[in-house]
């Protein structure tokens, strides 16, 4: 394992890169070139990016260097990053012509070649913070998947072991951050799509509270659960990026108008006096022993730091998967009705309306997306609506109430992120149910709308393991504080995959 301070430039944290920038020991152009060199070397084989905008990135880096020269020292100024290709990036000028911006595909063939006429909130806010956009990362089609094998642009490979998946659906983002191709990246998390790939790729990934970050310009999957969040190589980096992303946006009616705290100030390193709950239902049968051992050891580290650890119970946890696989397909089937071959995206071009719909959507969507549209349409159809959809919404109430009751007694919860380490590409593609189980420990958190983070807690079978800290609604500060205190004490913060060399 490389020693801190001798990691190659591309593998360092935002915090370290900012120090180098402020001391003028490195320029944003050099950071950007280091990332682009990694993308050129490994990006093809790992299949991490769907689009890279080299010219624009270097121009943005030069602008950041000019700003630095005038004394500008904003926390993300000059830091190269990637957006999951589910965030639209403005790519058209007012005349409707390509303006040099990046296309957006959402990992789907139906959006191949799509150029957005407007920017997502994420692109705007990170751009305004002075960060340097490198490109758009590969992901499962419309963020539906747990392995990144559902992308129309091919699977992403895990930089720790190229025969395994990086997790999903934000697997391009997690793998790019792990492999030194970007200092941070955005993801979206509907049932674990940030936290699970963070765990499998050995990076930090956070899903904020539902409503904390604007969803404007995020291609919709399941609107009552989707949330944007950051990937980074340290908890502090993730806190810095979250602060730039968070805050009210009138263009997203579910974005909540509450103040954004100074997240870096929450990283005190101190957990004494905190009560942390360990929900017994999260240590499920079928969890890999190496994962359980690493997570139990992480809980032990926090106990050693002075946190009070208590066992708690969330009895409806085993109903989470079923609840999720009714609610999310139902919402997805409605959201994806917009791909009608008329206003944007691919079209079969048939003159008959019904034939055009059937052919456009039949050809444009991949198997998992089709499965979920059918499942969701079925759950919402006459005669099944009450038995499936209303029932799932009632169980959602129960799951949320159990979290609320437990979090009234403890400050945060500790749990595994994923029951397994990265699995082989192709190992779970034949049976959707087997794939869905990957998110059993993360999706209840989305059902309740709570913030959660996954932090690396060592290796099992030479592959990364992550554990989860789950907090009260809008209390990202405690979640980050616990995760950061663990990270400082545990000594895994310099874990890097075999790509970490120049």
């Amino acid at each position: 394992m490389p020693v801190a301070g001798v990691l190659p430039l591309a593998d360092r944290t935002i915090t370290e890169a900012r120090e180098l920038l402020e001391r003028r020991e490195v320029s944003s152009r050099e950071l950007t070139e280091a990332c682009l060199a990694r993308i050129a070397r490994d990006g093809g084989e790992l299949n991490t990016f769907i689009a890279v905008g080299e010219e624009r990135a270097l121009a943005a880096a030069d602008a950041a260097d000019a700003a630095t020269a005038t004394g500008d020292a904003r926390p993300l100024l000059g830091i190269p990053y990637a957006l999951k290709d589910i965030f639209v990036t403005r790519a058209l000028d007012d005349a409707g012509q390509p303006d040099g911006g990046l296309p957006t595909t959402a990992g789907s063939k139906i959006l191949a070649g799509y150029r957005s006429p407007y920017a997502s909130s994420a692109e705007e806010r990170l751009g305004a913070a002075g960060a340097v956009l490198l490109g758009k990362t590969n992901c499962d089609e419309f963020a539906m998947g747990s392995s990144n094998e559902n992308s129309a642009y091919g699977p992403v490979r895990n930089p720790w072991d190229r025969s395994t998946v990086p997790g999903g659906s934000s697997g391009g983002s997690s793998a790019a951050v792990a492999a030194g191709q970007a200092f941070f990246a955005t993801g979206t998390d509907t049932g674990g799509s940030i936290r699970q790939p963070a765990a499998l790729s050995g990076v930090v990934g956070m899903k904020p509270t539902y409503g904390r970050v604007s969803r404007y310009g995020m291609v919709a999957f399941a609107s009552s659960l989707d949330q944007c969040g950051p990937f980074g190589r340290s908890v502090r980096d993730v806190a810095t990026v979250l602060e730039a992303l968070a805050g009210h946006d009138p263009r997203d009616s579910t974005s909540v108008n509450v103040p954004v705290p100074d997240y870096a100030a929450a990283l005190t390193g101190e957990v004494r006096g905190l009560r942390l709950g360990v929900p017994r239902e999260y240590f499920v049968a079928g969890m890999e022993p190496g994962v359980e051992a690493s997570v139990r050891a992480a809980i032990g580290v926090l106990e050693g730091l002075g946190a009070e650890i208590v066992e708690v119970s969330l009895p409806s946890t085993d109903k989470g998967l079923a609840t999720y696989y009714i609610i999310t397909p139902a919402e997805a089937s409605a959201n994806l009705a917009r791909y009608d071959g008329v206003r944007y995206g691919q079209s079969a071009g048939d003159d008959d309306l019904l034939t055009n719909y059937l052919a456009t959507r039949g050809d444009g969507f991949g198997p998992e997306v089709k499965r979920r549209i059918i499942l969701g349409t079925y759950a919402l159809s006459a005669g099944y609506y009450d038995a499936y959809y209303v029932k799932a919404q009632q169980v959602r109430t129960l799951i949320k109430a159990e979290f609320d009751a437990v979090l009234a007694d403890v400050d945060a919860l500790l749990a595994p992120t994923s029951p397994s380490v990265a699995f082989k590409i192709g190992a779970k593609t034949d049976e959707p149910l087997l794939m869905y189980l990957n998110d059993a420990c993360t999706l209840p958190v989305n059902i309740a709308g709570l913030p959660g983070i996954s932090v690396p807690c060592g290796l099992a079978d030479a592959l990364p393991v992550g554990f989860q800290v789950i907090g009260r609604a809008f209390d990202e500060e405690t979640v980050l504080r616990v995760a950061d205190a663990y990270e400082r004490a545990a000594g895994f913060s310099d874990l890097r995959p075999p790509t970490a060399h120049d």
Partner: protein, 99 residues
């Protein structure tokens, strides 16, 4: 649990064309998924209200005025359309005489 004709019917409702192979695969996969989600039927929810979303949302009102921040030019708005005719979207016929 779910028949081939059920899947065909729902696919039609969803305006989704499926090949015979896709239909065959989907019948088995959906049956197993529906069997798994049926665990919810064992939960007593008779006294429980449904939750559609988890934050206390209220309607947000604003004046009905155009916002420059979200203004799109006609050309930018139409640029992604697969079929156009001048400044308009070209769409298949939805109303025909005599129907």
């Amino acid at each position: 649990m779910i028949s081939r004709s059920d899947v065909e019917h729902v696919a039609r409702l969803a305006r989704l064309g499926l090949t015979d192979d896709e239909l065959d695969r989907m019948v088995g996969q959906l049956s197993r998924i529906l069997e798994a989600v049926n665990v919810l039927q064992s939960v007593d929810t008779s006294a429980i209200d449904p939750t559609a979303q988890v934050i206390e949302l209220e309607n947000v009102m604003r004046d009905d005025v155009a916002s420059d921040a979200q203004r799109l030019s006609r050309e930018a708005a139409l640029a992604g359309a697969p079929l156009r005719e001048g400044p308009m979207l070209r769409v298949p016929v939805v109303l025909e005489e005599g129907r």
